[in-house]
Symmetry: C2
Subunit: 277 residues, 2 copies
């Protein structure tokens, strides 16, 4: 079984190329691959399969979270899939259609000096503003002002003065389970550095603080603009790297890095051990 280890702004994946669409991703295999120390360690596994019939796509991104559950879409992952396909000339040119459980995504790749993909742009759909500058009474924190946005999944964005001191671990879990969000919410923190630059940190629902999340970065930039703090085009500096968000007429795109760290083969004996469990 061949693999590629890749990341987008620190959100990392084990890519498993599966051109013949025959690889069975069991929950045990996904978990074992994602475990640090005794596996490869990653946030998720992406099986790169052929585009589903009628999708017109170049490939299907079969995304699994580290706990083995299925995910619809991952903005950072889809950039890595596009890089994989373009770098290996498995598609013509630098534009890739990636089929996901959340629909077909068009990814435009930008090549570096070496002729390989360094950045990629993906449309994340239109942000749906819900409540702008809503004051929530959070125990121990007093009134907390949040702007809530749907990117298909729920987000609550909080503006802070200093991103390094942002109460991510303290406020994140409290907001996540606030009665305002019956299904929970992702929580984003942002600090404004200018009309075109913010810094951000993300508390992912059910996960904790993460280095980056495509929908989180999109929601964060949309909230900053809705609050009148930034323009429609803004760079979001995240702990894992910078992402450029452009909120156009009918789509919001995120441009960010796609990095390949290593590629090779999963050990056969290790794999047999996982399958035997």
């Amino acid at each position: 079984m061949t693999f590629v280890k890749a990341h987008g702004a620190g959100n990392d994946f084990v890519l498993l190329p599966d051109p013949d669409d025959k690889l069975e991703l069991t929950r045990d295999l996904v978990r074992a691959l994602c475990r640090p120390h005794v596996g490869l360690g990653a946030d998720g596994v992406i099986r790169i399969a052929p585009g589903r019939e009628g999708s017109g796509a170049d490939a299907f991104m079969d995304y699994r979270n580290g706990d083995g559950s299925v995910a619809e879409m991952c903005g950072n992952g889809v950039r890595c899939v596009a890089k994989y396909l373009v770098d290996r000339r498995l598609v013509d040119g630098t534009e890739v259609l990636v089929d996901t459980r959340g629909g077909v995504k068009r990814v435009r790749c930008i090549l570096g000096d070496t002729g390989r993909v360094e950045l990629a742009t993906v449309g994340m759909g239109e942000p749906v503003p819900l409540k702008v500058d809503l004051a929530l009474d959070v125990e121990g924190h007093g009134p907390v002002h949040v702007t809530t946005i749907s990117m298909g999944n729920p987000h609550a964005v909080v503006v802070v003065d200093d991103i390094d001191d942002a109460p991510v671990a303290a406020l994140g879990p409290l907001l996540q389970r606030d009665p305002e969000f019956p299904e929970g919410t992702n929580v984003e923190f942002l600090a404004v550095l200018g009309r075109d630059l913010v810094r951000g940190r993300i508390w992912e629902r059910g996960v904790g603080e993460t280095l980056a999340s495509g929908t989180g970065v999109a929601a964060l930039a949309a909230a900053a603009h809705l609050l009148g703090l930034t323009d429609r085009t803004v760079t979001v500096a995240m702990p894992g790297g910078d992402l450029l968000v452009e909120w156009g007429e009918d789509d919001l795109t995120v441009t960010g890095p796609a990095v390949e760290v290593a590629a090779g083969d999963i050990d056969g004996a290790w794999l047999a051990g996982v399958m035997r469990r």
Copy 2:
């Protein structure tokens, strides 16, 4: 640059084969490889170089900690190096002499059904008992009984009733900086399940809780025997796997798993990015 990702009882390494002895392991490269998410993620990097002149060894284990610093010896790492050499028939037979900064280690490998190495035994040298059942007054914990042992490096071993509830994160850092240990100490916790079976957890000096440590497991088993709780041969069940410790006349050996997870190539563009920093 080729690599192998391997672990021994959950203590994991990026192995870098360097048969021509020409690979320069910079601090930046080691740190970048060991970082999770944006690197490969590991506790350390091991360059497998030719045995140093006059050593008579099959290979030299050039071990670096995740922070880039040099380490003398690593019991879990040396088993992985032996597996690498035996599996690939780079030595004759199943016994390997591995040169380390802590001297030449003889490693005896045990093959599984597939003809590849599953377990390996390495001599860790003689434990030097220092103080048996010493009562230390630790703030907030009252008197804590420790048995101190040198395995070349310092260890303080604490016996507990329940290993799952052991105060590793609370007591580890307090004992590490206790005035009794001017240079700090590693701290091991053990719970006795029988004359030939204990469970263990390790607080590594300067690192925190780790899944396994060769010298830690050796010190832990030696302390259990010195306290009259176990025989000279004991299995130590660690969170990352089981290790068999045999304290003989003039050596203590540890037998444990050596597992290869994957092998391949580090991406050239990623490597160039690290080198440019």
